[in-house]
Symmetry: C2
Subunit: 112 residues, 2 copies
DNA sequence: TGATTAATTAACGCATTAGTTTATTAGTGG
DNA sequence: CCACTAATAAACTAATGCGTTAATTAATCA
């Protein structure tokens, strides 16, 4: 999987509220599939599939203890998308700077 | 559109390499649909649809000059996803801290 | 006006996604 | 062994996504 495919998989995995909620839950610590499913109206197989999607994107890792498959968060792909968005930070900073300048001008009318 | 739907739309829009490439091009400045389409093998209508997806996600704004519909980048949704990923930053920082500690221990074996 | 250019819409095919219910695998423990 | 729990697989439906080609809208310009 090249890095573009990896970004595809990550963005696509994050494009569903249930999957983002699962990640938020895992930020609190390890959890089983049933624990993860509990807050949702959805069936267990549906959650199982969402977990699979997250796992394929590398966002979660899984262990085995007895008949449980505990899930843990892996933040690596999140760091990758953070780095990706950082490409654009100069642009929104630039706009902010322009706004900042404008505000300063308004506050300090001695400038021309 | 609530903020979760907005995130859905943004992540989903970013989950395609052509759309990310279009954003990268627009980071250089305004461009028409034909200009945006030029680097791709895809048909023009296909690009037109990708642009529509980006526009619906709020990632681009469009103008009108004669028969052209120039596109410009709007970074607001990118800032939103940057803020979203920042939720998880403490976690990967924590892991980095743990790794850092471990490395220090290895370098400095006087610790117990 | 008629030809040309820019872009979108329409109509279609095909693959993928998201959910369901039912069935199955695999491990625990009486 | 049998019953129970955790989780996945199978099979299906409905909706969405991504691409195509052909047709259409809208503006320019000779």
């Amino acid at each position: 999987m090249d890095s573009s495919d990896q970004l595809d998989a990550t963005f696509s995995a994050l494009a569903h509220p249930a999957r983002r909620a699962i990640l938020a839950r895992l930020a609190q610590g390890e959890a089983t599939v049933n624990m993860l499913a509990e807050p949702f109206e959805m069936s267990l197989p549906a959650i199982s599939k969402h977990i699979r999607v997250l796992e394929n994107a590398g966002l979660i890792k899984r262990g085995r203890h007895a008949q449980f498959r505990p899930c843990t968060l892996d933040t690596k792909p999140l760091q990758d998308i953070a780095n990706w968005t950082d490409q654009y930070r100069p642009i929104w900073d630039a706009r902010f700077d322009a706004m900042d300048q404008l505000l300063n001008q308004l506050k300090d009318p001695h400038h021309d």
